[in-house]
């Protein structure tokens, strides 16, 4: 592998930005955001430069690495601080820095009234750096650093307005659920080291062949758990909705475009493990399928625009995970959907941010309506994203999502049919809830509070939206034209055998579009025709109620983990006081008691003392006599 000395700057630039802004404090208030944006952009251009270099090399020569220093080395456990830039990571690098830079720009305006804007930019920069480390690390442990780093960034940004207790709680929840997932990554590393003696990607790739399927399955499952945590997949999905507490640019960048897709990256990156561990792979698919529907269902019931989008994100990542679980045939599509999703979902989030910006930070869609007239640019960019997510040709989503549905059908047998159906159904529901969002927000009658004065956002905000909208429109075509992405990535994955086609592509597309149309139609009938209440109706079906409560996910966590945990905690606190410390005190007390009672012997009467001596003499003689016998 070629080595390079430049990779580190990709990370170092934003990291330096974060450090400077945090250490300089208020002094950098004036120029901090500019510096951060600049550094992010610089990193993006560096990425582009690396891409250009990469393009200039033959496909086998494309991956390049950089060993920075020996990080941990104990016995055979040797971890270098090393970076790896290959065809897969470059995609992420560009996505992260590209979308990241755009969102930086957007935020300059979006956060302009916030006193702590500088800190916000510091966190953003920090996030970029951590995310880059995640995708550039050349071993699981390096990845782990970035993995938790983005978790921290996410925590900090969700809780950016943590003076509101609910937001603080949301950030905490995100961090802790992520930690649960991270534990899976720890286990994966441990199993890998115990069985293969290495934790680097290349090392494991080489050793995987000699390793038993059981061990690989174990690693795979643990990686999956990690992925579910970071990517808000079932069963660790509950945090994502609450994470919308963060400023909207954060939602766009972290909780839509980049961080939450880290799970997809992890699974794709670990293709050599999953390919050899069918069971784990199957689980990946199942998780993806469940989440896909899960997120979609939640999305149908949410009135909070950001939460609706978050549910959508969850669902879309479900698609990606599912695709990644399909093995070599799906990796490229997973990544492709990831990239297109990065554009259109980020765009929509920014759009949502723009709406909120104009609506006094109102997030309830039932209090929107008819914003089309007031925010035309937002409407257009949002609409383009909408079309993309629906998978309407030729928008980006069409290319990526159809591929996934197609591949799912082609998975073979019952599995293929089920997966295909699920993905199709998901597409339909997606169409329904996204249409609902569109209708509630932009069309119909206005249901605003009197204080609201909707207006279009400044150019610093709409420009990024526009850029992303362009991406939403074009990226699908660009990436899939001539299987560009698939070819680009193919050296990384095992070549796959020709798959048999259950349904021809054109049929799949047709089916998908049909379902989308049905979804749109239902939404249109339900919301556009009959109008919308400003207050959510309460006489709704039990299903709606459950969906509004995120399918009871929080209730479940509360009943199964939180309450018992609290009981256990207080019980242990009591135990510690009463039993363990009590035992210690008990010993002390009994010694005191014995002392006090023996003290009674000393009654002050000399005759008693004499009696004691006599008894002692008797005992002593007897004892000596007995011993002597």
């Amino acid at each position: 592998m070629m080595t390079s000395t430049g990779l580190v700057y990709l990370i170092a630039l934003p990291l330096a930005g974060a450090a400077i802004l945090l250490l300089a404090g208020r002094r950098s208030d004036k120029w901090g955001h500019l510096l951060a944006t600049g550094l992010s952009a610089a990193s993006f251009f560096l990425g582009l430069y690396q891409l250009s270099l990469m393009l200039g090399r033959s496909s086998a020569q494309r991956p390049i690495g950089q060993k920075l220093f020996e990080w941990i080395s104990v016995g055979t456990f040797k971890i270098d601080a090393g970076l790896l830039l290959d065809q897969l990571s470059i995609c992420f690098v560009l996505l992260i820095t590209g979308v990241g830079t755009i969102i930086h720009i957007y935020s300059i305006a979006y956060m302009s009234h916030d006193l702590d804007r500088r800190r916000f930019f510091a966190f953003l920069n920090f996030f970029i750096a951590a995310m880059l480390l995640l995708v550039l690390g050349d071993s699981y442990l390096n990845l782990y650093v970035g993995w938790e780093g983005v978790g921290l960034a996410s925590y900090l940004l969700i809780g950016f307005w943590n003076q509101k207790p609910a937001y603080a709680t949301a950030s905490k929840k995100a961090f802790i659920m992520n930690r649960v997932g991270d534990m899976g990554l720890s286990f994966a590393v441990m199993i890998a080291f115990a069985t293969m003696g290495t934790v680097s990607f290349s090392g494991i790739k080489a050793a995987a062949e000699q390793t038993s399927t059981a061990a690989l399955t174990g690693i795979g499952i643990m990686l999956l758990i990690a992925a579910t945590g970071k990517s808000a997949q079932f069963p660790l999905q509950a945090w994502l909705g609450d994470a919308m507490a963060g400023p909207t640019p954060v939602s766009a960048l972290i909780h839509a475009a980049t961080m939450v897709t880290a799970g997809v990256y992890l699974i794709t990156r670990s293709n050599f493990i999953f390919d050899a561990a069918p069971t784990a792979q199957l689980l990946v698919v199942i998780v993806g399928a469940i989440t896909l529907l899960f997120g979609a269902l939640i999305g149908t019931a949410k009135d909070d625009i950001k939460k609706a989008l978050a549910a959508s994100t969850m669902s879309q990542i479900g698609y990606m995970i599912l695709a990644a679980g399909l093995g070599p045939v799906g990796y490229a599509f997973a990544i492709m959907h990831l990239l297109t999703h990065g554009f259109f979902k980020a765009g929509m989030f920014l759009g949502a941010g723009s709406v909120m910006h104009g609506m006094n930070d109102e997030v309830n869609m039932r209090k929107y309506g008819a914003l089309r007239k007031f925010m035309p640019i937002t409407f257009i960019t949002f609409g383009l994203g909408y079309l993309a997510i629906l998978g309407v040709p030729p928008f980006a989503g069409f290319y990526s999502k159809d591929m996934i549905i197609e591949t799912a059908f082609n998975a073979g047998g019952i599995k293929g049919i089920i997966l295909g159906s699920v993905t199709l159904l998901g597409a339909g529901i997606t169409a329904f809830y996204m249409t609902r969002v569109m209708i509630l927000t932009f069309t119909g009658t206005s249901r605003w509070d009197e204080k609201a004065h909707p207006h279009e956002s400044p150019w610093l905000m709409w420009l990024p939206m526009a850029i992303l909208a362009v991406g939403s429109v074009t990226s699908g075509y660009l990436l899939s034209n001539g299987d560009a992405l698939a070819h680009w990535l193919s050296p990384l994955f095992e070549s796959h055998e020709e798959h048999h086609e259950l349904l021809p592509p054109i049929v799949v597309s047709a089916l998908a579009l049909t379902l989308v149309a049905i979804g749109v139609a239902i939404a249109f009938l339900k919301y556009s025709r009959s109008g919308v209440d400003a207050v959510a109706p309460s006489d709704v079906s039990i299903l709606t109620t459950i969906a509004r409560q995120d399918l009871m996910q929080d209730r479940f966590n509360e009943v199964v983990f939180m309450r018992p945990g609290q009981v256990l905690t207080s019980a242990l606190v009591k135990t510690d006081e009463v039993i363990i410390d009590g035992a210690v005190h008990g010993v002390a007390r009994s010694a005191l008691g014995v002392g006090a009672s023996l003290r009674g012997l000393q009654n002050g009467f000399v005759r008693s003392y004499a009696a004691l001596i006599l008894i002692g003499a008797l005992a002593l003689i007897a004892a000596i006599w007995v011993v002597a016998q």
Binding site: A611, L614, A617, L618, I621
Partner: protein, 263 residues
């Protein structure tokens, strides 16, 4: 030890007679010490035990010790005891009921156990050698032989005992000796004092203690005609030492006039 062939006394049957008469008496006397109420009776019984022991000493070839036992122990030490008993109150008697809960049964059990154990152990003792008798050692006379030992082999403890005697004397003095607090007044000074006092009441001499009361001890003040105690009737040094009886119990008003024999 009963199996021992210590039949020294076989030819000396009188010793056996002596022992069997005197030993039970000694034991009874010793037991009596514990059982009699009055301390002075105990002392008498003690003296008897000592004398009996002196007899045993003499019977066992220790005439010197026997005599010393009588002279020193019975004669001097017991007299000292009796003297102190007088001081403390010769008629004082102990109540024999036990006041410390549980002590008596413990004491009796311990005593029976102790005595029993001692006797049974002694019964098991065998020396592995015969009783020699002190006739050979006393060949030159008991006193001479003891003197030999005392002034040669045991001269060091003998000297050391002198330190003990001094200690005892010194100790007794420390505990009992009173200092003169003021200068002893001269006769002349006394006379002057007597006549130059505030009143001439003292000129004729101070009242004698206890003369009007029904008690003639020197530590009880005389009573004045009004029945109050005359403090001047008590020697000043007694007063200073605090050896003073509370005179109020002898005041006329409080005296029980019904004639009752004082014990």
């Amino acid at each position: 030890m009963s199996e021992l062939a210590m039949q020294v006394g076989q030819s000396a049957a009188p010793e056996a007679v002596l022992f069997w008469i005197l030993a039970p008496l000694t034991l009874i006397a010793a037991l009596g010490m514990l059982l009699v109420k009055k301390a002075v009776h105990s002392a008498i019984l003690m003296a008897f035990v000592m004398v009996a022991l002196a007899v045993f000493y003499i019977a066992q070839g220790a005439p010197f010790l026997g005599i010393v036992q009588i002279v020193v122990y019975t004669g001097a030490v017991m007299m000292l005891f009796l003297f102190i008993l007088m001081l403390v109150g010769v008629d004082s008697s102990d109540s024999l009921t036990e006041s410390i809960r549980g002590l008596r049964p413990i004491a009796i059990t311990a005593a029976v156990g102790f005595g029993g154990l001692m006797v049974s152990l002694l019964g098991r003792a065998t020396l592995g050698r015969g009783a020699v008798g002190v006739e050979a050692a006393n060949a030159d006379g008991n006193v001479e032989a003891i003197a030999q030992l005392l002034f040669s082999t045991f001269v060091w403890p003998f000297e050391a005992v002198s330190a003990l005697l001094i200690t005892a004397a010194l100790g007794a003095m420390v505990l009992a000796h009173h200092h003169r607090i003021q200068e002893r007044p001269t006769q002349r000074q006394l006379s002057i004092d007597r006549f130059r006092k505030d009143s001439l009441g003292a000129a004729a001499g101070l009242p004698a203690p206890g003369v009007f009361a029904r008690h003639n001890a020197v530590d009880v003040p005389a009573l004045l005609p009004d029945g109050s105690p005359a403090s001047a009737s008590i020697n000043a040094s007694l007063k200073a030492r605090g050896d003073l009886q509370n005179s109020s119990i002898f005041e006329l008003g409080t005296v029980d006039t019904s004639a009752s024999e004082e014990k």
